[in-house]
Amino acid sequence: MREQLLKSFVDMDEQEAVRIARELVDTDGGAVAVLDTCKEAMEEVGRLFEAGEYFLSELIAAGDMFNQIMEFTLPKLQGDEVTSIGTMVLGTVQGDVHNIGKDIFKVMAEASGINVIDIGIDVPHEKFVEAIKEHKPELVGMCCLITLGVDSMKRTIEVIREAGLRDDIKIIIGGGRVSQAVMEHVGADAWADDAARGVRLSKELLGKE
């Protein structure tokens, strides 16, 4: 059944994937199997995206399937069955109120085992600092869609540095307008203009691949 779940998930057959997951989740050890299979499927979808075979619509559809299946799977898992490879504080920077890119990235990051603390959109610089103090993440993810976000990311990173927290974390920036040049300009550690690359680099920053 795991093979079928994996195949229908990766093939974007939503109804079939959800149906199999519902069946599998009630078997012995099924919840863990569903979780692992869906994670594997998300990874494969991300790989297909980076290979140019899948597009944003497939990432959105996969994320939606993942969320649908987790809704009935997570309550059946024991606490120690959900492991995390690291924590990330994630937000769209001050002045930018877009959320689509952040939300696509979030579900893919969660599926890869990152514990994501989503602090929302139009996040003031100080709120990033507070969240870093509170959650002690290894990673901070900053998103922006509009060009104004570039300035805002730069200032946010300055504020984090002034608070003495910059050396404790790795920073990845994401969004439609970021690039290597923007990363160097704002002082981040990695950049991604799509969610799949973002997740891959986040795992690298965590030393997990």
Partner: protein
């Protein structure tokens, strides 16, 4: 009054643009100039003032166009697409065309929930932003298909703004009356701005319109983007039928003004879709739209937002000379190779380079870009995104204009 000297300059600029639009080589590469939030910062005003205070925004635009001359002019801060309102009133073309875009002062009246403006919902130096939200349940597709105008008026408008919650209320009627008055006020302001810009030697061509690919109308205004993408798999036939219905009403709106010579389409879902989904759901009605406009002698321009590479070849299905394609992330060199002699290519300047480069790097960057893009003509130089942020170094902007001056001669 426009001096004879400035009149001549305007004619040269217009001819330059026109030659490129006819896929020819002009005397110099036509350059649309840079702009955006930085115009307000350069004039020492906030983004809020730029959006809401016409006197100040006019002065800012004039200062910018004087100090950074290019071949076409922007006339102010611009606004956010508000097509459902225009669709709702599409039986009244004298009115509807005026409500396709909502700017800050207009939204003080309309109170559209998708709009975020500086000094209102946002910080006084933020950019105006459109926030997609789902305004329609998938069970309503049949109603939309049956009559998009009626659906936009009766169902969508009340969900877009609380002022239209009850369409029969005095508040709803007063809102439209006030919007009409505001439209007249802004029309007069705009005429004043355009007259002042004309004195600087900038041409104003024939009227241009704005429209949408029908699937983008669903994505931006009805279902939101993630839901639309899911609907393609869940309700494919309904989505397809809806795009066909929407095409009719959008075409009617786009051609309502008999003087319109060009229609612009900002493409949004293009980057989200695989070539298969694009060809099945997005492209057929957009293609039909452009073909029907071409039959009437109206040119189109598409702003291919995001990454358009997988769909480049579809443009070749249009007749040569159909119009202009602007690109954001797609490499204009690659686009020109595919589209040479068929489609005008516009863009090329990555705003990321202008924000973070040095003047020397920018000089070299523009030189290489022009070396690659000018031969053969049919190229209009511009930014890949219309908005440079407030803190963009002015010396970098000057470096762009100087390099265009240096290397832009044919």
């Amino acid at each position: 009054m426009v001096s004879p000297e400035m009149q001549k300059l305007a004619e040269e600029r217009a001819a330059r643009m026109q030659a490129a639009r006819e896929l020819k080589e002009p005397d110099r590469v036509p350059f649309t100039g840079l702009g955006g939030d930085v115009i307000a910062a350069y004039a020492g005003i906030t983004a809020y003032e730029y959006q809401f205070d016409f006197e100040k925004s006019r002065a800012a635009v004039l200062k910018w166009l004087k100090d950074f001359p290019s071949d076409s002019a922007m006339i102010g801060a611009g606004g956010l697409d508000c097509l459902p309102l225009a669709v709702a009133f599409s039986d009244f073309p004298d009115l509807a065309g005026g409500f396709m875009v909502v700017n800050g002062p207009m939204n003080d009246i309309l109170k559209m929930k998708f709009a975020r403006f500086p000094g209102r919902e946002l910080d006084e130096n933020s950019s105006p932003q459109f926030i997609g939200r789902s305004n329609m349940d998938p069970s309503e597709y049949d109603e939309l298909i049956a009559n998009p105008q009626k659906f936009a008026y009766e169902k969508i408008l009340p969900r877009l703004s609380d002022n239209f919650k009850d369409l029969n209320s005095p508040l709803a009627l007063a809102t439209m009356a006030r919007a009409g008055l505001e439209r007249v006020r802004q029309g007069a302001e705009m005429a004043k701005t355009m007259a002042a810009i004309a004195e600087l030697g900038y041409p104003f061509g024939p009227a241009g319109g704005l429209s949408y690919a029908p699937l983008d109308f669903i994505g931006d205004h009805l279902r939101d983007i993630p839901n639309t993408v899911l609907d393609l798999r869940r309700y494919p036939d309904k989505v397809k039928a809806a795009t066909e219905s929407i095409l009719e009403v959008l075409f009617k709106l786009a051609t309502a003004n008999p003087n319109v010579a060009s229609v612009g389409f900002p493409l949004h879902l293009n980057e989200y879709l695989s070539p298969e989904l694009y060809k099945e759901f997005y492209w057929p009605t957009l293609k039909e739209f452009v073909l029907r406009l071409a039959e009437k002698g109206i040119k189109s321009s598409m702003f291919c937002e995001g990454w358009h590479d997988p769909h480049l070849e579809t443009l070749l299905e249009l007749p040569a000379g159909w119009g202009t394609a602007m690109f954001e992330k797609t490499d204009v060199r690659k686009a020109k190779k595919v589209l040479q002699g068929h489609t005008v290519v516009q863009g090329g300047i990555d705003v990321g380079v202008v924000i973070s480069g040095t003047p020397a790097q920018i000089d070299e960057y523009i030189k290489q870009l022009l070396d690659d893009m000018m031969p053969g003509g049919g190229f209009i130089l511009g930014a890949n995104v219309g908005n440079l942020p407030r803190n963009t170094p002015i010396e970098n902007i000057a470096a762009v204009y100087e390099a265009v001056e240096k290397y832009g001669k044919y």
